[in-house]
Amino acid sequence: MTETIHSAASLWLALSVLTIPLFSALVCFVISEKFAWLSPMVSSLLLFITFICSAFLFFQVGDSHALTYSWPWFSVNENIIRASLLLDKHGLIMVMVVSLVSFLVHLYSIGYMAEDQALIRYFGMLGFFTFAMLGLVMSSNLLILFCFWELVGFSSYRLIGHWYEKQEAAKASTKAFLINRVGDLGFLIGLMILWSWLGNLDITYLNLETIPTFWLTTAGVCIFIGVIGKSAQFPLFHWLPDAMEGPTPVSALIHAATMVAAGVFLLIRIESLFTENTLVIISVTGTITAITGAIGALFQYDIKKILAYSTISQLGFMVMAIGAGAAQGGFLHLLHHAFFKAGLFLGAGAIIHAMHQAYHHQEGNVDVQDIRNLGDLRKKIPITFITFMICSAALAGLPFTSGFVSKELILTQMNEWSGNAFSWKWLVILGAWVVTLLTPVYTFRMVWFIFFAKSKHNVEMVEVPIVMRLSMFVISMSSLALLITFKPFHILTIINVLMSLYPNTSHLITLLSTLILLIALVSAFFMYKNYELKDQNKFLTPNLYLDWLSDYAFKLVLQFAILVHWFDRKVIDKIINGLTYLQVGIAHVTGWSDRYLVDGVVNGMAYSAKGIGSVTRSLANGKIQSYLLWAMAGLLIFILWILY
């Protein structure tokens, strides 16, 4: 379905979409410290232009064939590597979502980061982050995609560590970067396997018939390891909760549109590459991640960490869906998740900002991110409350929200995939249902303790600035299903394209999931209604069991070391003592020969070195004429050599 069309207009649009964020980053880095206050406005404006361009691009390309543009970049052994752009339906929707979310985050950051000292660095890296993600989405060559993949990792490292004076932030950013490296290594190995078999890394021209199945599976699994690192799948997910040390808008961007979405998007891009076995690994990993993430979110107290675990769970859900043959649903969920998770993070940021302002005048140190210190906020900050509620509803999958639609689609497609006979596939489906049950519960818990429960502290609060409210409003509106699927809008191309992604869902599944939702909400209500949050449970540390696991592994190693020590004492030492006497004998002989033979040679060499040294040293005596003398001697020898 790929067709190379040299339509200049869409090429220029695509290039401008790609370069305007980069330009924004450049502007922010060259702007002088005196005009730092300008950089938020300028970069927000530029991102808005990017969004407009991407929307135009989308309408221009629309429903038609995918467009590719490619230029020869360099060649290795007659294999030409081409720098290429691929503009297809999935990519363009993603471009639009990325630029819109990024623009809103920029807008929000104007308010949120108003008092920050390093505005230039912040907005510059934000623009660069967007550029890297857009490049990743639009590039068609896997090698270039990998470059942008690395750039995304790098800029997220810079942004998570934005407040690097805080030690936790510096550690978290390093952790995120290093764990991503592990995954990227897998990705790179996968690319090497593909290259060695195909000599070509362009997604649209991959000729998969020539690869043996074993190597194709290996390559797919290796690339999936890259996705595990970037999209925070089991077992490489514990960098994501730590990454909450960064500024909240950055978290919104990382979780919604840029960083973690990159992995899922890559899975959709190279879906044709995955064999049966790879898909099994993908779906099982996704299921494990989804369930662990959901359980983790149930026991966290920090708002941002709850959201982080919910992101892990949702990403697992998407990966599971892609592995289980529901790639369309997974992609749709990725888009919806981008909006509602960004909305949730912006809302959480607004709560933190407002609470921070409120506690600013009070004494004592209260952790404003801890839901045990929050409560009863719905009347104090009503607009934040409303937007947060809409996004939470979408996360929980309530009807009439976007989350509901994509969840239905995934469940339906997975149902078709599993077939009627009982197999391991039923376990995956069971996992999916467990996640749909757990998600409303932890969402309810979070919302209840933030907005409804009785508050321990009573403070005066004011709403956040208008720019922040505006972006929160826009983003929460886009989480409503009405805006996306309501029929009267279908004259617009965007709706048309999106509509084509929605096949009919089965009524039985809709009923079932609504029922489960109701059960979950009711049970959660009764569970948490009179529930007091205790101190942190010892067994559910912030990183789930991973830190504990590494402790356990450490103890195991220690025990092994003690065993080895005993063996060393009793057995090896005896042997060594025996050997020692032999050694002493030999040592006397070697000592004699050393003293008289080796030392003689060494001394002779030392004396000769000294002699040569003093001769050569006398040449470099700092006198012009002796230099000239030797230069002339050299010249003479040179002339003789040339002539004869």
């Binding site: 700092g622 006198k623 012009i624 004429q625």
Partner: protein, 103 residues
Amino acid sequence: MSDHTLLFALGAFLFSAGLLIVLTKKNAIMILLGIELMLNASNLNLILFNRQNPTTYEGQFFALFVILVAVCEAAVGIAIILKAYHYFHTSVPDQFSDLKERN
């Protein structure tokens, strides 16, 4: 032995003598004199080469420009020697040792 061979030998002798002076004499002015001598030897050669093709004057012009550059070199060289003499109170290059490592 024709005249030309004699003159070539004279040029070679002058050049070698200039080289000897440059290498052996300690005084900077003597070095300068030696360089002048070497330049003159080359001039003699150039003029002799010109005699192989008397209708053009390439060799003579070359010699002329060599004289010109030699003049420049002498002027700058003397200036440097005077300045160094001001500074070090000697015109023997071996005793210009401000930058040398002490040992």
